[in-house]
Symmetry: C2
Subunit: 300 residues, 2 copies
Amino acid sequence: MPETAIISEVAPRDGIQSITGAPVTTEQKIALIRACYEAGLRRMEVGSFVSPKAIPQMAGTEAVLAACKQMPGLEATVLVPNRRGFEAALAHGADRLGFFMSATAGHNKANLNRTREESFAELAALVRDTPKGTLIRFNLSCVFHCPFDGVVPEAEALDWVERIVALDPEMEIALADTTGNASPDQVNRIFRHAIGAWGHRFAFHGHDTYGMGLANVMAAWEAGCRVFDSAAGGIGGCPFAPGATGNVATEDVVWMFRRMGVATGVDWNRLLVAADMAASIPGAVPGGRMRAVPAARQAA
Amino acid sequence: MPETAIISEVAPRDGIQSITGAPVTTEQKIALIRACYEAGLRRMEVGSFVSPKAIPQMAGTEAVLAACKQMPGLEATVLVPNRRGFEAALAHGADRLGFFMSATAGHNKANLNRTREESFAELAALVRDTPKGTLIRFNLSCVFHCPFDGVVPEAEALDWVERIVALDPEMEIALADTTGNASPDQVNRIFRHAIGAWGHRFAFHGHDTYGMGLANVMAAWEAGCRVFDSAAGGIGGCPFAPGATGNVATEDVVWMFRRMGVATGVDWNRLLVAADMAASIPGAVPGGRMRAVPAARQAA
């Protein structure tokens, strides 16, 4: 039996959200989700129940979610930033809710305009109020490095992880390298500690901004992590910051696991189709390496 | 005392050699070497005593070597492919000779037009004839993956390492991921085995073609390797194979070590100057991530 890694595809949400200029239509999003699904990806972050005024690219998440329900076996996660989003997501039959806050004060304030304590209290209530049978993914941003506060003291990060762990014995918790500036040794230590203390319930969400995306995926893998967020085409970069590429590319992660003999359930050629589709969305800033490697295009 | 990694800069040879079109002048090479030197890099592969007919970009290695002797503390390595190159290098006062062969039959034949046994016998004689006081770096290519023979059986790779180890008790041996398609678990296993069996005498030479460059550097580091080849600007890509980027970029490696608190002796801003210089050589195919990261440009 080969070892298995679970890829959680985030291009439809994290990747598309940052695209500026032309709005990405609901049809484009569904086409990308379908391409990822046809490549074998069975976990995806597909949208966000936020105000379309605040984040225009996430308009139409209800329709996206409805389309996902037509894809058997797809576990679709929608982000909910607050109680209003939480209720909208449940009203539209979401199976899996994505909560999020930051491990650092600076990023939490900038991103959510709240203190961490405020966010935690709000999300703790949502966790408590989530109906039985609805899954939760709790995303903790800036676990390693913060654009405002710099390198995160490990004890401080782990304190927040411990508090989140205590909210619910089952929900999956993603430890996110939001800036891409986590170092692999740091990722390895945090995951070793978290898994050692609280078991196998953690996912790694990485970015490739500093080129360390795969090194950090590997560092988390070595520590026992088996769930990884990534975006087809490596989209998610910020068009206002040249070089600030996005999420670690799904095709890069899948290639590395493939070379390691780790099963991901992904069809390589179909994944390249999905990655090319993501990368060609107008306004997208693609990243990753594998789409450009001629030898990989010939791999079965 | 922080841990220390030794960076062996290869842009002046491995990086420049593959540039087609306009020849890189001796003055350009010396300027790049000087920029790297001023950034604190004290080990470099600066040229190759090969026929300028075979590899035109390596013409002028004598003059490059003479310039290197004006840079105190610089350990300059020149590659020698055969006895003729060996004698030329010694005649020009080289301090450190770089020998090379492949761990795979296919690449050794394509690159050197010899069987591995033929190459090994020839290089064994050169090792034996190297005068006392002249250092040797023995580069073993395609230790992990070969463009012709695919993934290398680990026992076969380690057999060659063992034979090379036996040639000389002191020379440094580089285990090279020539295609960039080594996987980190493989790199980690090979280095663990090699260092466990034969001690700390190994360097890792990686490419970033498949985006696994830093993951593989980290895998070698974790196994105890402390010497790493890399090229400023990530040059070394092949202009005939779009996407086939070159050596892992020195600035990417140095940034990762910097984030890990590992000392490299490199001045970050001066390294960016050298990396930009390497990347701007006409015909060079630059790689790596860090030159494009705005936040890194502001780092002291």
